[in-house]
């Protein structure tokens, strides 16, 4: 039976990008639909009535939301090139650090980006403590998934691109070579990996978008 796989996302959505990567790594054909969140399509409202958010994966008419849930669904449905370990403890660790990335790392880095002066300094301390834990996770590994890109690499992948954008706009170095050599190494390996590299949203567009977001925050 022909599989029908659709992904609803936005052009800049970091969480949507995770799904693009997961699908590409598995070699799955899919249709990508970029939504305008200021004018949500009937399709989005139909497939994600509770949250009305992206990304949403639609597989043969059935929809799944929440990017980390979607990646696990993809991994369980298409078994080639597994993203999560079969070992329950390794799986638990990958899930934990992915949530940590979303709940703590992202918000702490965002705080650095939108604040100034003393608040920015404090935010930077918190961000660095969080990043240190990720750095420790990379000891002896090329990727968070080990030798190959796995679930946690996809979950943290936004770091590899967004950090450079935010650092450029806020003129502050968050991930420096002395403190985070492994993280920097990972960012390079990951962002240059073939299927990952070709999917990044246009950098200039991202710079503009985040500049506007930053200005709006300080209003």
């Amino acid at each position: 039976m022909a599989e029908e796989v659709k992904l609803l996302k936005t052009w800049s959505s970091l969480f949507g990008l995770r799904i693009v990567w997961a699908l590409k790594l598995k070699g799955i054909q899919f249709d990508s639909i970029d939504e305008d969140l200021t004018n949500k399509s009937p399709l989005l409202l139909q497939y994600n009535p509770v949250y009305k958010k992206v990304p949403v994966l639609v597989h043969n008419g059935k929809s799944i939301s929440e990017s980390l849930v979607i990646i696990e669904y993809i991994d369980e449905t298409w078994k080639q090139n597994p993203l999560l370990s079969q070992d329950p403890y390794e799986k638990a660790m990958a899930r934990f650090w992915a949530k940590f990335g979303d709940d703590k790392v992202l918000s702490s880095i965002w705080s650095v980006f939108i604040n100034q002066g003393k608040e920015q300094e404090e935010a930077l301390q918190v961000a660095m403590e969080n990043l240190k834990l990720l750095e420790e996770n990379l000891k002896g590994k090329k990727f968070f998934g080990g030798e190959k890109i796995g679930f946690l690499d996809l979950a943290l992948g936004w770091l590899a691109n967004l950090i450079c954008v935010l650092e450029e706009l806020s003129d502050i170095k968050i991930i420096d070579k002395e403190r985070f050599p492994l993280l920097l190494g990972w960012m390079q390996e990951f962002s240059q990996a073939p299927l990952i590299n070709e999917s990044w949203p246009p950098r200039e567009k991202l710079l503009t978008k985040f500049q506007i977001m930053r200005e709006n925050q300080s209003l």
């Binding site: 597989h59 696990e72 660790m93």
Partner: protein
């Protein structure tokens, strides 16, 4: 092989109730150690095993720590997979279960908290919000006895600890859970008849007492 399973937690924590129910459903023997977060912070043991979050509950299985109740419950389900499966075998249904536990995480605790941290108009808005969330969950139940359909599943285990908070919610905000969500209250009572649940839930009067302090 000797299994060593330790659960570190704080007694009113609803997150630990989830883990206790999951362990009971699977018939796993474990040692429980209470971390009294109010008495003066976290024990050195907790800080040592859970540096990332310094939070509870923490399950320690043969020396390896796991935290966050959603991750712990899934872990328990995967390791002790010989009985009482908590997640369906179908990937789509598993994804739906995970989406609903994520929804519960994002919405229920904060909505409940607002019931006693707000007053007047703000509290009225909080009540509306609260019931909208519970009615959405009630809708998900459909005509089944449990969210897990025939048996207790992941979503049931995730949500049922809130049952012992119903009394506190009703007292603090002058609302009636049964009045607004009768099907959900019926579901909760049904779950509470299971030994794994009744032995893991904290007495609701104790919770109310704790909240009122």
């Amino acid at each position: 092989m000797g299994e060593e399973v330790i659960l570190l937690d704080f007694w009113p924590s609803m997150f630990r109730m989830r883990v206790r129910i999951a362990l009971a459903e699977k018939g796993v023997k474990y040692e429980y150690r209470d971390e009294d977060l109010l008495k003066g912070g976290k024990s050195r043991y907790l800080l040592q095993v859970n540096p990332a979050h310094k939070k509870i509950p923490v399950l320690i299985h043969n020396g390896k720590p796991i935290s966050k109740s959603s991750i712990i419950v899934q872990y328990i389900n995967e390791v002790w997979n010989d009985k009482a499966p908590l997640l369906p075998s179908n990937p789509y249904e598993r994804a739906q279960a995970r989406v609903w536990t994520d929804y519960i995480d994002k919405k229920v605790y904060d909505a409940g908290r607002k019931l006693w941290t707000t007053t007047g108009e703000e509290q009225e808005a909080a009540k509306k919000d609260f019931f909208e969330i519970f009615k959405t969950l009630e809708g998900q139940l459909g005509g089944e006895p449990y969210f897990g359909e025939e048996n207790l599943g992941y979503v049931d285990v995730y949500l049922i600890p809130y049952y012992c908070w119903f009394h506190a919610y009703e007292t603090m905000a002058n609302i009636s859970m049964e009045g607004e969500c009768p099907k959900l209250v019926a579901w909760a009572k049904r779950c509470a008849q299971k030994k794994s649940v009744s032995e893991s839930l904290v007495d609701e009067k104790k919770i109310s007492g704790f909240v009122l302090k």
